[in-house]
């Protein structure tokens, strides 16, 4: 690892100032579980590293408007896994947190790091897409809100400018009869990266699906929503046949590549299987 200067801001404002001073040669550090391997392997050689661990606001989980939730960008995967408020209404997000790495990794890995690292396989992205989350971003020009669906722009690329930071995620209240699920496939049970991940969220009223969300990881440069599959469910009673049909449509939304983690064929196969399974679970949870 190359030598670098370490900056330890104590507030979001200090952090913005540090970013403005440091210029493009700087990197933000949250849990470091993505950044440190990149530094060690020489993929990144920043002159300055700005450590976010001393900024309390980024670790907060607070009630949001309309009984929604605001989750700080430095909330760890382990906290998402265990937090009552998250589990109560956003179970798919808790499930994605619970799948990351190992307990040791989860104690470090943060939601913001997962999103800003912008790996196509990032586990916490699909649940946020399925939950219609918004990202709160701040920089020298002030705060702005970005729908999570517009946050990712490519492999390891986001809408963040080099002098901006992700502050928190705003999760709207999904409503009473709503349920979600996140599943991924990995060859190894723990300590592995998703070959495919699928999050589904279904909201019901009077036996009919009023809102369906299906989001896919690791099948395109950025996490995707399978909108045609969602539309095939909305306004309908969710039956096994319709779930099957939605799973087929989700496969069409996927644009996978073949790499060392899996072939494009297997990824398409998994989208079908995991969409079917997450929808089935989401339906059961929404109906419960």
């Amino acid at each position: 690892m190359r030598r670098f200067e370490l900056v330890l801001p104590g507030s979001v404002d200090d952090c913005v100032k540090a970013l403005a001073q440091a210029g493009p040669e700087s990197k933000l550090l949250a849990g470091g579980t993505d950044l440190l391997p990149q530094l060690k392997n020489g993929l990144l050689k920043p002159a300055r590293v700005i450590d976010l661990s001393g900024v309390p606001r980024l670790r907060a989980i607070e009630p949001g408007n309309g009984q929604g939730l605001r989750v700080g960008s430095a909330v760890t995967a382990r906290t998402l896994e265990l937090d009552r408020a998250v589990r109560a209404k956003y179970l798919s997000l808790a499930e994605s947190g619970a799948l990351v790495g190992s307990v040791q990794v989860r104690n470090l890995a943060t939601l913001g790091g997962n999103l800003c690292n912008a790996a196509p396989s990032a586990d916490m992205a699909p649940p946020l897409l399925a939950l219609d989350a918004e990202a709160v971003v701040t920089g020298p020009k002030g705060e702005r809100r970005v729908p999570i669906a517009a946050f990712f722009t490519g492999v390891r690329k986001t809408v963040l400018a080099p002098d901006e930071l992700l502050v928190e995620l705003v999760l709207p209240n999904p409503g009473a009869r709503s349920g979600g699920s996140y599943l991924r496939h990995t060859p190894r049970r723990e300590l592995d990266i998703a070959v495919v991940g699928v999050a589904s969220q279904l909201t019901l009223a009077n036996g009919v699906c009023t809102k369906a969300r299906i989001a896919l990881a690791a099948v395109a440069p950025i996490p995707l929503r399978a909108t045609a599959a969602e539309q095939a469910l909305e306004g309908q009673a969710v039956t096994p046949d319709r779930i099957k049909r939605a799973a087929d449509l989700a496969v069409e939304a996927a644009r996978p590549i073949s790499d060392q983690r899996g072939s494009a064929d297997f990824r398409r196969h998994l989208v079908r299987v995991l969409t079917r399974r997450t929808l089935t679970t989401a339906l059961a949870r929404a109906s419960a």
Binding site: R3, G42, H185, P187, R189, D192, Q260, F266, H269
Partner: protein
């Protein structure tokens, strides 16, 4: 060599489950590994490695790196006159000369005050490469016209096979002028294969493929080198054989062996990957160039990209049998991909393929093929898991095809003691039959139909087993046993303990001498002081060094009794050792303590010789050891995920010197075997660059993937082993790939022949079949 012990009481020695004395220090982080050494003036080394698998080096400019403050040396091949272009081994290819032959090959070396400075210096070295065509696939590389890997005229390296001492009577030849990358080939034939197939009712043909896999020792390669002003080199090394390291470094650097002292540090695993020298020569050269101690520790990424993994093995196998199960003919071709330097144990593969079962006719060919990948080394029972995967998968399919019980089928045809192996050597006493029988009696095997029928929730259940083994290595060795002035024993060998062998050796000394284990201390000495010994490899440490220790202890015992006889004015034959004293049988109050005998051996003006038991045996008789494994699995047919519900390891250990350590070996070996079966593969792109150089993507199994592993120790004494012991380290890595493939077929009906048996392969095969 076997000797009957005449101990008069049960000493606390062999047969007891005793914790390793080094265990607590290891789990509490007290043990010093090479990476923990911090001598005054220490410099840190880094190597600049080629990003290309095959390229001409046009120019290297190190001037900017040399100018970086804190950098003490930057070397290229041009700075090391002893290097030769036709490097016969990886160790000799210290830095690339003119041409790189695998991605990750060292091109330049840096020593600097800090690791970070050394890394920065690498960025400042300018290398201009002319990229050349790459031989990335062994099947392509075998063809005439493939891009050449070795320099023309480089000799094949068969020393690995010799080191493992595993097969006699097979000559492998370096050959073929047209196919430049075939570095060795061998052929074993018996009977009329064509006739055998013509008379067969059932002919089954398959191609089995096992990718390159990495040994995965916890501690990466590491060495610290320092020279004194007289020109003596000391190496603190993580090695499986300090004398071998000394010989190789002496050979590469053209130094007399007695000018090099190798101090074997605590070795954090080797599994065959730390037999051959790798980074020792360059570190020594950097230390000489700087006049300072230099330490080099490989990163995990370097280990995966540029370590010495196991070869890829491709086996085409055709078998013919009669409908009644009579074996008729076997035809096989084994291709071992060795990477950029020769060194595969080709003969072992050939012998294994045709020797396990009684094929009346066979024709087995083997080819070692070079490619532009890191060169390979041994990995725990080298090529046995790969060949057994083919053999045992094939036996299972034959049994299925003719509708006979798969265990009975194997037992019927298994070669027994005295049967001729493919190299015409007789099979030696072994427990193959006993091991397989024990597994077949296991309730999990007996209830396999119930398990299959209990499948639920869309998952499929199955059971599979497999039998494999290892012929066992041999190498001369030596040991001394001294009696201390306080009556305790001091055992000295040069043998590196990579597997808990030192406690077993101490137990052997205790029993052979006749004192309790707590009176025995064992030390692994460095190459200046210890008796010369071989590698900790080939499952032979307990088998061979155990004999040396046993004989040295007996020798010390005899010396002790002779001294006591004189002192007590009694006949040696009337004496016995009763833990801390020598007594005259039947006269309990007539005796002399071991302490006083020990003291007399170290007393000013004393005429009593100090007790120094020695032994330095060489060996000619191997002890084959077999292991059987049984897996009960559940397969998710949609995702291909395999859940291991139970796993059983049965193994013939001859005599369990320390059952606890043996169970550890059986479980550890099984886990590595299961990793090969299920998840592990070094995956290269078409330019022979590794695509998964981290432990996140190179998937060793974790505890979350594994059930608790049941062990069954079988004891069929090895006639020449110490107290009947056989080697135990290697056999348990052998059977799992076939056991799992057999279990998956039992569950799903799908037969897979390529490792790893990944979810992708399983799910897509099931989807294609339905």
């Amino acid at each position: 060599m076997a000797s009957v012990m005449k101990t008069t009481r049960d000493v606390k020695g062999i047969g007891l489950s005793i914790l390793r004395p080094d265990g607590p220090d290891k789990v509490t982080g007290q043990v010093q590994y090479v990476a923990d050494l911090n001598p005054r003036g220490l410099l840190h080394a880094k190597l600049l490695r080629s990003p290309y698998a095959h390229a001409k080096i046009v120019r290297i400019d190190v001037s900017r790196a040399r100018a970086l403050p804190g950098v003490r040396a930057v070397l290229t091949a041009a700075d090391i006159p002893v290097l030769k272009k036709k490097a016969p081994t990886r160790a000799h290819a210290v830095l690339a000369i003119d041409r790189v032959v695998f991605a990750g090959q060292p091109v330049a070396a840096v020593a600097a005050d800090e690791l970070a400075i050394a890394e920065e210096a690498l960025d400042l070295i300018d290398v201009q490469y002319d990229v050349l065509p790459v031989a990335a696939d062994p099947l392509e590389s075998m063809k005439p016209g493939a891009p050449p890997v070795a320099e023309l005229g480089t000799e094949a390296d068969t020393s690995e096979a010799l080191a493992h001492g595993s097969v006699a009577g097979v000559t492998t030849e370096a050959k073929s002028s047209k196919a430049v990358n075939i570095s060795q080939q061998a052929r074993l034939q018996r009977g009329d294969v064509a006739k055998g197939f013509a008379e067969s009712d059932v002919v089954i043909e398959n191609t089995y493929r096992v990718p390159m896999v990495h040994q995965g020792y916890l501690e990466p390669h590491a060495v610290l080198a320092q020279w004194d002003t007289a020109g003596n080199l000391t190496l603190w090394a993580s090695t499986q054989g300090s004398f071998n390291t000394r010989s190789e470094v002496a050979d590469v650097l053209e130094l007399p062996e007695n000018r090099i002292k190798v101090i074997p540090m605590e070795c954090g695993g080797g599994f065959g990957g730390k037999i051959r020298a790798l980074c020792e020569p360059i570190t020594a050269v950097l230390a000489r160039a700087t006049g300072r101690p230099v330490r080099y520790v490989m990163t995990r990424r370097e280990e995966l990209e540029a370590g010495m993994p196991a070869p890829q093995v491709i086996i085409k196998m055709k078998t013919g049998v009669k409908r009644d199960g009579t074996l008729m003919a076997l035809e096989a071709e084994a291709i071992l991909e060795s990477g950029a330097f020769s060194g595969a144990v080709l003969a072992v593969a050939g012998v294994f393929l045709a020797s396990l079962y009684r094929w009346p006719s066979f024709d087995v060919q083997g080819f070692e093929v070079l490619t532009h990948k890191p060169s390979i080394a041994a990995y725990r029972a080298p090529v046995a898991p790969q060949t057994i995967f083919a053999i045992d998968s094939q036996m299972e399919q034959i049994a299925k095809a003719i509708g006979v019980d798969p265990v009975e089928f194997r037992l019927r045809h298994l070669q027994r003691e005295g049967d001729k192996m493919a190299n015409n050597q007789p099979w030696l006493s072994n427990g193959a039959v006993e091991v397989l029988t024990r597994l077949a009696e296991h309730p999990l095997w007996k209830k396999r139909a119930e398990w299959k029928a209990s499948s639920k929730d869309g998952k499929l259940r199955g059971t599979g087993l497999s039998l494999g083994g290892w012929l066992g290595g041999l190498q001369p060795t030596g040991a001394t046993v001294r009696l201390n002035p306080d009556g305790t024993l001091q055992v000295l060998t040069g043998q590196v303990d990579i597997a808990g062998t030192n406690i077993a050796l101490a137990q052997i000394a205790a029993t052979a001498y006749g004192v309790d284990i707590d009176k025995v201390k064992i030390t692994t000495g460095d190459t200046d002081v210890a008796p010369m010994t071989g590698l900790s490899a080939g499952s032979k440490t307990t088998y061979t060094v155990g004999v040396a220790v046993m004989q040295a202890a007996e020798n010390a015992r005899n010396q002790t009794l002779e001294i006591a006889a004189k002192e007590l004015e009694a006949s040696v034959h009337d004496l016995e050792i009763d833990n801390d004293k020598v007594v005259v049988r039947g006269v309990p109050d007539k005796g002399i303590t071991l302490a006083s005998i020990g003291k007399k051996g170290n007393l000013y003006m004393s005429k009593v010789e100090p007790v120094l038991g020695t032994s330095h045996p060489a060996f000619s008789v191997q002890a084959p050891a077999f292991c059987g494994q049984l897996a009960r699995v559940e397969v998710d047919p949609d995702t291909g995920e395999v859940t291991l519900h139970n796993f059983v390891v049965a193994q013939d250990v001859g005599k369990a010197i320390n059952p606890l350590q043996i169970e550890g070996q059986m479980q550890g070996g099984a886990v590595q075997s299961l990793g090969m079966a299920l998840t592990e593969a070094l995956i290269y792109d078409d330019q022979a660059r590794l695509t998964n150089p981290s432990l996140l993507d190179y998937r060793k199994l974790t505890s979350a993937d594994l059930p608790s592993i049941e062990t069954i120790i079988v004891e069929k004494p090895a006639p020449h082993g110490p107290f009947g012991a056989r080697g135990v380290g290697e056999p348990p890595i052998v059977p799992a790939p076939a056991a799992i493939a057999n279990a998956i077929e039992d569950a799903t009906g799908v037969r897979l022949t390529h490792l790893p048996l990944s979810p992708e392969r399983i799910a897509l095969a099931i989807a294609a079949a339905s």
